[in-house]
Amino acid sequence: MAIGVTTTPEKSKPSGSIMNDPQVRGIFYQVITVVILVALVYWIADNTIQNLKRANIASGYGFLNGRAGFDVGQSLIAYTSDSTYGRALVVGFFNTLLVAVTGIITATIIGFVVGIGRLSHNWLIAKLSLAYVEVFRNIPPLLVIFFWYSGVLAVLPQPRESAALPLNIFLNNRGIAFPKPVFGDGSQYVFYTFVIAVIASFFLARYARIKQEATGQRFPLLWTVLGLVIGLPLLAFLATGSPITFDVPVAGKFNLTGGSVIGPEFLSLFLALSFYTAAFIAEIVRAGIRGVSKGQSEAAHALGVRPGLTTRLVVVPQAMRIIIPPLTSQYLNLTKNSSLAIAIGYADLVAVGGTILNQTGQAIEVVSIWIIVYLSLSLTTSLLMNWFNARMALVER
């Protein structure tokens, strides 16, 4: 591209035409490129507006305030057909976010387990991990989604024959139904104590680190924190007279009623995205660990550090530096792949937007919203990961 020309290191003497000066020529080409680009964008935009007008198609973002008129299967926020199109889009956005965040967390966990499994000295574990990676990495994600969806629908029982699991959890082809907590009077104290416990644990962790750095003594952090976070709210719960009750699913005419339900659409999309992306993450993790020179763990062993601790304190932190950048692009992939939701009727941003696009005919507006939202999601993810990467980077002392 023309832009590369500017960085020519040497200045050649101007001989004859000014255009022979690489610097001038570079700037000249860049200006031309920008002018053409701007003109092109303007021309396309203008043409689009003219054509929409000629075709008598309404335009503008005003439609977002109109009544949606359709229902959405799953929503994290209050939504009815009386809500606006704008709110319907927000519902879709949260659904996208939900599947992306839960998918990223699960894919990371599976990916790390499988990636480390591939390096295992245990033959069976190593081969199983290899098989996992090869199977999931080589199937298009859409097929993985269909696989889970038809699998879920075909294997799970009809609602009238729901499988009853412990803790009043039920499984059928309408999803997983589980008891929904009902927060009565006084339950806010349980919540407050929980928050206090979390904050306390945070300070405790700092204290433990400082103490270990100063004295070398290790503090039983895990158990103390667990005790705090579970124990304190439990105490509050008992003290306020058990204000939290559970709404348990019971058999209704068509399906179970009451409780909360996670539908098969979310389940299969979530499982498919997690399993699919985990295969790539596993390879990244394996490469990352391999990338840490052997001398590092040998040195740790020589110092008498136990193997588990060696992995945790010596190998993984160094491997992370290799892992994080490609991991970021896997997270971005997962988020973008979540738009395949439309194939199985999960109400994500693309599905809901598509419905709106069709009911209102505002194609350009809806598509522009999609682009902006996905772009912002991706940029935010990148920013977070860059920040994380900077924190993990080698700190030279």
């Binding site: 075709a55 198609i57 229902d71 009809q158 082809n173 005419k253 068509f254 399906n255 009911q359 005919g361």
Partner: protein, 341 residues
């Protein structure tokens, strides 16, 4: 770089020209390319479905053929674009198809904001519900709490929301974009109820693994006047598409059929003579941009409205739909054509 700019320029230019062509006289474009590009659904037996060798047939398909016959005196000069409920409107707006004959409901929103024109209703329909017989449901009012399968981008999903809301019933919508996905989900028991136009239900029921286990509930919850749609701004094309339907109705009213159309040209009835273009100095076809034989050509290609109905969705088809509202106005229905004169 230069190469890339060039490609972009060419691409943009094509876009501009394409959009321009779409707003020009559609009839001239169609004549120039030699066929009608017809938007149909992706496969709804009886309305539009391809057979194993890719030949389309159905009620909507016959409308495409009739339009082609009116223009080219040849009902085969059609190319079909299968569209899902969601794809159909952009396809028509962008000029990818010349006409949409795809069980599309005429609504004010589509007629105005989306930039389309509707006039004749070729099938008066209404939205219905299908359930498994085993549920022992006798009326839609007993459906509270049910999971309902529905296709997105339809009037169906809007009527559904309104109906359940106004009757204070709860439901769980399961929304898909493609027809096969809705069918598969309903067949697999993901939903208790399938809702769409009643005509569609008759057709879809036959594609289920056990059609006899399912029944259609008596309630009709909406008006679904289905008809061909065209883009706004081309009155001549709009007239042609409209009058193709009226010609089919008129032919049934006059008793002109695919078999007797040549015979009927000799009819002493001046109305029939004018309709079939044998009246001296007739301009009945040329005024609309076609030949005077246009009605004859339509009838030769597909028969009259009654024949099209019977063959595809009525008594002569597996669907066995009654004429009902779609009987001629003179026979208790509301199908009616303005006079051809």
């Amino acid at each position: 770089m230069a190469r890339r700019i060039l490609t972009a320029l060419v691409g943009a230019a094509v876009m501009g020209i394409g959009a321009h062509a779409a707003s020009a006289a559609t009839l001239d474009d169609v004549k120039a390319k030699g066929f009608v590009q017809c938007g149909v659904n992706t496969g709804l037996a009886g309305f539009a479905a391809p057979d194993a060798s890719g030949n389309w047939s159905g009620f909507d398909v016959d409308y495409c053929k009739a339009i082609a016959a009116a223009i080219f005196a040849d009902g085969t000069k059609v190319k079909y674009t299968p569209t899902s409920a969601k794809e159909r409107f952009p396809a028509l707006q962008s000029g990818e198809v010349d006409v949409l004959a795809r069980n599309t409901t005429w609504t004010i929103n589509r007629d105005t904001a989306l930039g389309f024109n509707f006039r004749p209703v070729n099938y008066y329909d209404g939205q219905g519900f299908m359930v498994r017989k085993g549920l022992n449901v006798k009326s839609a009012l007993e459906l509270s709490g049910a999971a309902v399968c529905v296709q997105t981008g339809t009037t169906t999903e809007l009527n559904l929301a309104d109906y359940f809301k106004s009757n204070n019933l709860q439901y769980n919508p399961v929304v898909f974009e493609k027809l096969e996905e809705v069918n598969a989900a309903y067949d697999a028991g993901r939903c208790d109820v399938y809702t769409t136009d009643q005509s569609g239900l008759y057709s879809l029921r036959l594609t289920l693994s056990k059609p006899d286990d399912h029944m259609i509930l008596p309630e009709i919850i909406s008006k679904e006047p289905l008809g061909p749609a065209v883009r706004q701004g081309d009155d001549q094309w709009f007239d042609i598409v409209s009058w193709v339907h009226y010609a089919l109705i008129q032919a049934e009213e006059f008793g002109v059929t695919q078999a007797n159309v040549e015979e009927m040209k000799k009819s002493p009835n001046p109305d029939v003579q004018r309709f079939l273009g044998v009246e001296a100095d007739s301009k009945i076809g040329t005024d609309i941009g076609l030949t005077n034989e246009w009605a004859v050509n339509i009838i030769k290609a597909v028969g009259n409205y009654g024949e099209v109905f019977d063959r595809n969705i009525g008594a002569g088809s597996p669907l066995k739909i009654e004429r009902g509202l779609n009987a001629l106005w003179s026979k208790g229905g509301i199908q009616y054509a303005p006079p051809v004169r």
